[in-house]
């Protein structure tokens, strides 16, 4: 029997097909779709309003003015979109692992991580994306950052970098369920940590700064990558390195996740 090879285009094609089918069925439950869309707008709106009220009253924080803060906020919203849209099934992992339903992902001739994640596409992330882009453009215009191919290119690369960190964080948090029982807490804590991402890391000091940079790399979700655009004359080395560190973290989290699958003993009959 000839060996079948499955490359990048195969995986992209499969993902697209699953996504199309999934969206079709989601839209066929019309009421459900409309309600969740409204809910998604409300959630984003309330987060946005809270932010506005909070920062209207503080003209600058550590030398960051209102529009810079807004930029960071928008940046973090956009950077969080991929994890929300494409990796949302991480939230179901621990239930499937305890019930034994996880086994079904291991019977197909494709990568288990891919197959697991491909099952869920969360549309709610798209609302966040729209808000994020809106905020980003608004802040961008007020700060007066030039619109050139270079700045746009930088923005895209560093948005991608930032999202890699968030994905890595959630992968690693979810994968703890292969070892511990109460892994739900780990995920919730990690997810809460992301709220710190929208503040400039310079407001943290000492132990927290170290913690949020190297242990739980929250500072990479918005702060370090956005400095490349906000403050192009004083970019710290960590900012330039962040794309590589991001890839490394993602790769490590993927390996950790797959290690969990290998170690898992498939409970349930």
């Amino acid at each position: 029997m000839e060996k079948k090879t499955r490359g990048f285009s195969f995986y992209a094609d499969i993902y697209r097909k699953i996504l199309v089918q999934d969206l079709k069925t989601k839209m066929s439950y019309r009421a459900d779709f409309i309600i969740s869309t409204i809910g998604m707008i409300m959630v984003n709106l309330s987060g946005f309003v809270t932010f506005l009220i909070l920062f209207r009253n503080f003209p600058t924080i550590n030398g960051w003015d209102y529009y810079h803060m807004l930029f960071l906020y928008g940046f973090s919203l956009v950077a969080l979109t991929p994890v929300q849209c494409f990796f949302d099934n991480n939230w179901n992992l621990r239930f499937m692992v305890t019930s034994g339903d996880f086994i079904k992902y291991c019977f197909r001739p494709v990568n288990v991580f891919f197959y697991f994640m491909s099952e869920v596409f969360d549309v709610k992330g798209l609302g966040q994306l729209a808000f994020g882009i809106g905020t980003l453009i608004y802040a961008w215009a007020h700060i007066g950052i030039p619109v050139t191919a270079l700045t746009i290119g930088k923005l895209l690369v560093f948005l991608l970098t930032a999202s890699l960190f968030m994905i890595a964080l959630m992968n690693a948090a979810a994968a703890t369920c292969f070892w511990i029982r109460n892994s739900g807490y780990v995920m919730v804590i990690m997810f809460r940590f992301k709220d710190f991402a929208k503040y400039p890391s310079s407001i943290f000091s000492g132990i927290f700064k170290f913690l949020f940079t190297f242990i739980i790399p929250i500072a990479f979700i918005a702060y370090y990558p956005s400095l490349v655009i906000l403050d192009p004359d004083n970019v710290p080395l960590l900012s330039w390195l962040s794309p590589f560190i991001g890839i490394l973290f993602f790769w490590l989290s993927y390996k950790f996740w797959m290690l969990g699958v290998r170690k898992y003993d498939f409970t349930g009959s």
């Binding site: 499955r6 094609d13 499969i14 086994i103 291991c106 003993d265 498939f266």
Partner: protein, 313 residues
């Protein structure tokens, strides 16, 4: 091609189970604990299955059947021993092994929950890279074996348990695998659905020469599908031969059915070597009227029960 679909040599599987502690402090303790106990789920099982064979892999609850299947499908690594599926070690070549096997775990659907069945089929076609012609032929074959019209456009989430199981079995064959593993496929189904599913499995096995490894607690499945059975108990293989051979061993046993005065049937298993059937009937007649009598050879169910209860073969 190798002539054996599956070979197992002295396969053992141990599970290490942590002795868990209570509370938050206990959870933290568990993280670093070395306090394990070992459960031997499968002990020294050897087995060869030829192409096209359907074997019944039987045993009481907790015997180790599902564990064996998990090893054969490559998701669990044997603690020791050797397994070859289609000539390859499943655990070492999981994705390659999956190319050529189908798996159904009763009551655990593997299909996309919200998609209509036909869309699931198409996605599987693409996942397994099945040529379009071969896919269409398979769907045609399905149509000839079972009425798929009522379910083909239904989302899996709206299906009854029986329809879902039927769908899962169809899905397990879509890429024409060499071996299909069915772990309790008829669990929780009504008699007519069981019949349909048995006919389907039999038909697919005949048409495609697919090897089938079937575990079940329903001896109706065994009667309908398997010539050969393998029985394991407490992880050890205790029987491996034709079902007829086993029945022959219990050849002197008869099942006596008696219809009593109140129109109920009573049944009794009698060993003719030690008990006289006529005498049993006479004794019974002293206490109640007997309207009808039937004498049958021992059923598969009763043979298996005897084995589970420890009758040596």
């Amino acid at each position: 091609m190798e002539d054996q679909a599956l070979v197992m040599k002295n396969v053992c599987k141990d599970f290490k189970v942590l002795n868990r502690h209570e509370g938050l402090k206990g959870s933290i303790q568990d993280l670093f604990s070395r306090d394990y106990k070992t459960i031997s789920a499968v002990k020294d099982v050897s087995l060869e299955v030829a192409r096209g064979e359907i074997i019944g892999y039987l045993g009481p609850n907790g015997a180790g059947k599902s564990t064996t299947i998990k090893m054969m499908t490559g998701v669990l690594e044997p603690t020791s021993g050797e397994i070859l599926v289609n000539g390859k070690v499943p655990y070492k070549n999981r994705t390659e092994n999956c190319e050529n096997i189908g798996v159904v775990f009763g009551q655990r659907s593997q299909l996309w929950w919200s998609l209509p069945l036909i869309e699931s089929f198409k996605l599987l076609r693409d996942l397994y890279m099945v040529p379009q012609q071969q896919y269409e032929d398979m769907i045609e074959l399905y149509r000839s074996l079972v009425d798929i019209e009522p379910i083909i456009n239904k989302p899996v989430r709206q299906m009854s348990l029986g329809q879902r199981t039927l769908s899962d079995i169809l899905a397990a064959f879509i890429h024409n695998p060499a071996i299909v593993f069915l772990d309790e496929p008829t669990i929780g189904l009504d008699v007519s659905m069981k019949d349909k599913i048995r006919a389907l499995i039999k038909g697919l096995n005949k048409e495609k020469n697919t090897t089938v490894i079937l575990t079940t607690h329903d001896m109706g499945d065994v009667d309908a599908l398997c010539r050969r059975i393998v029985i394991i108990d407490k992880g050890m293989k205790i029987y491996d031969n034709d079902i007829e051979h086993l029945k022959g061993y219990f050849g002197s046993y008869r099942t006596l059915h008696m219809k009593l005065a109140d129109d109920t049937w009573e049944q009794m298993l009698i060993d003719e070597k030690t008990t006289d059937v006529m005498q049993v009937i006479t004794e019974k007649q002293k206490v109640t009227k007997i309207k009808d009598i039937r004498l049958e050879e021992i059923s598969t169910e009763e043979v298996i029960k005897k084995i589970y209860e420890g009758e040596a073969v």
